[in-house]
Amino acid sequence: MRAHYGKATAAFAMVSALTLAGCAGGGGGDSTAGGEGGSSCEPSSGPVDLTFTTWVPGMDKVVDLWNEENPDIQVKVQTGPNGNSGTYQNFFNQLQAGNAPDLGQIEYDALPNFRVQDGLENIASCENVSDAEDQFVDWTWGQVTFGEDDAVYAVPQDSGPMAMFYRKDLFEQAGIEVPTTWEEYAAAAEEIKAQGSYITNFPRGDVNWFAGNVWQAGGQWFSNDDEGWDVNLTGEESEQVANYWQGLLEKDQVSTLPSFSDEWNASFNEGDQWTWISAVWGASTLATGAPDTSGKWAVAPMPQWEDGGTAAGNWGGSSTAVLKGSEHPYEAAQFALWLNTDPEALALANELGGLYPAAKSATDLEAFSGGVEYFGGQKIYDVFAEASSNVDPNFTWGPTMTQTYTDVSDGFGKAIGGDGTLMDALTSGEEATVESLKSQSIPVKE
């Protein structure tokens, strides 16, 4: 079903790129007004009903809080599978049919796709929106503005700053120092392998995890300006990261189980995995998937490429966007701001949906201030808050990430099977991405 659907997606993306451009011209009477000028984003008169599509569990309860306080702006939550499993495709279909929801949850790596296909309302001129910049972690704001002037296309919702989960007990017993650099990490990998375990698992399917590592190293996969997109999956930093993991793979010092599978969980639960380089949401993944190791884990910053460095990567996170064609962009923008900055809303979204907010005030929330039992009482969220402030704000995603992920992950699969290297996968992924952009008439710089 999935593979089949992927092909349909690709084919449809091409069609919609053309048709949407046409639609934008026709249906843009109200939205051109919304695009430029400061006076354009005005409140509607009378009561307003908004629809909001999200796949975060429990979001309806959070929205209930808003609905109680704002009888004139009632928001209805609609739900579906997570973005790449169908909801994004639905958004594109609905944009084409002109009945998209007012608000939609969109992950950062999918935002450029919606931007390129003109699916997002620019809400920069809506009251309070541009001033909200200071309330969000720097890099997340960069993700929703694309570095354009006078532009805000979504409000940051949650983020996934990365750190290293590690088995404190095992490292202590074995007398191995907890690695702080990637060099030490590789040395530890060798010692751990000698004891018959793995330092970690290389997730072949999670290309966004790999991108998070490139991000940490200071790399850039995409950039764009007036002349078009520059695709660079094979830059110096990508090569550094690819060669590093290639080395660990060739020496069989990392396992290659499919992420989040039963075997993968079991291998963490049985103590075969000593570390996991992952995002903040990984804490609950571990606690559920490896319950027998409770109390034995700890969190440290990601290993660094340079001694004494503090760089961190990011894996995941999403925004609340106002979709093109919404009749009430002002109210939608106000709701999106409230949803992602109100302390009560943030606390409930974390409790029910496991979101780690993109708002800086996250550190004040009770859920993130105490120690976590699973991690021996460590205040792990301090580590992630620190990591979050050390994420490079200039990293840009491309407009066809679903395709890029698929192509690179196919290459990773081959590399793990001994056919080519991770670097080869990036090279072929870059070529395929350039092709895909061209086929959608998106300008590419060669």
Binding site: T79, N90, A97, P291
Partner: protein, 291 residues
């Protein structure tokens, strides 16, 4: 290979029967193992799924199973029960009405001479070749025009159409409803519609059961159309609901258990429908072969 040609017939017969049994045994195992896994896994907690033998129960299986079922039906305000009900409506009513429509259509094509009959039949037949998935997006755009997306009708109406059902009904009506009988009914003053419902449908019953079963299973398992059409989770059928949960497992790991138990519960109505209607169905297949 055939035993008739061999002088050592009986021995070959035993061998080929053992061979056949062996092959069938292997296939049975192949098909039943995943269901067995599903059954066993639904009696475990999240940690036990990875930590214990995958194909056997644990000591606390029975209480765990009931607590899993309890959580399944209470999670997110009991939305799973709603999904089951939706599936039952889509599949039950959809298959029933779809069967009646297919039966009438196939019967008309088989028993009435009219201009363009073969052309209509061929067009319907070509509909069998078009996968439902390919029609989902055009259907979405059409339903958007009439503002029926995200309603029950968006899934229900397309489910009523079954080209394969029409094909089957025509073939079966041609073979099992004698023209003489219809003549007799007409002479006795019975109207065409009355004849159809009182005489013909009874003769066609085995085929109708088959069509109903096919339609029921197809609608119950239909996933792509609801995925595209529906946004309100209170309208989801159980397949789409479980898929939505499954897509969130990496973030909300406790859903893993609920997806497994939910999958088990969601196949029970299919099994029940097959067991209940199997009797009629196999008699239908048999009747066809005697003709």
């Amino acid at each position: 290979m055939r035993r008739g040609n061999s002088p050592r017939g009986p021995r070959h017969s035993i061998m080929s029967r053992t061979g056949a049994m062996l092959i069938m045994g292997v296939f049975t195992l192949y098909f039943l193992t995943p269901i067995w896994w599903l059954l066993v896994s639904s009696t475990k907690t999240g940690g036990q799924i990875t930590g214990t033998a995958p194909l056997w129960f644990t000591m606390e299986s029975i209480p765990t199973f009931f607590s899993n079922i309890g959580r399944l039906f209470t999670y997110s305000d009991g939305v799973f029960g709603r999904w089951l009900l939706n599936s039952a409506i889509y599949a039950g009513l959809g298959a029933l009405l779809g069967t009646i429509i297919a039966a009438m259509c196939g019967y008309a094509l088989a028993k009435y001479e009219f201009k363009g009959r073969e052309a209509i039949f061929n067009i319907v037949l070509s509909g069998v070749l078009v996968p439902a998935t390919a029609l989902a997006l055009p259907l979405f755009l059409i339903f958007s025009e009439v503002k029926l997306t995200n309603t029950l009708w968006a899934v229900f109406l397309p489910s009523l159409v079954s080209p394969f059902g029409v094909y089957l009904a025509r073939i079966y009506a041609a073979a099992s409803v004698p023209g003489e009988l219809l003549e007799a009914a007409r002479l006795d003053g019975s109207g065409e519609i009355r004849t159809f419902f009182t005489v013909s449908t009874r003769l066609m019953a085995p085929a109708l059961v088959t069509i109903f079963l096919f339609q029921f299973v197809a609608i119950w398992n239909n996933f792509f159309l609801p995925l595209i059409m529906l946004r309100d989770q209170t309208l989801f059928p159980v397949t789409l609901g479980l898929y939505a949960w499954n897509s969130q497992i990496s973030q909300i790991p406790e859903l893993r258990v609920l997806v497994i138990v939910g999958a088990l519960v969601s196949i029970l109505p299919l099994i029940a429908a097959f067991l209940a209607l199997q009797r009629f169905w196999s008699s239908g297949l048999g009747a066809g072969s005697v003709k």
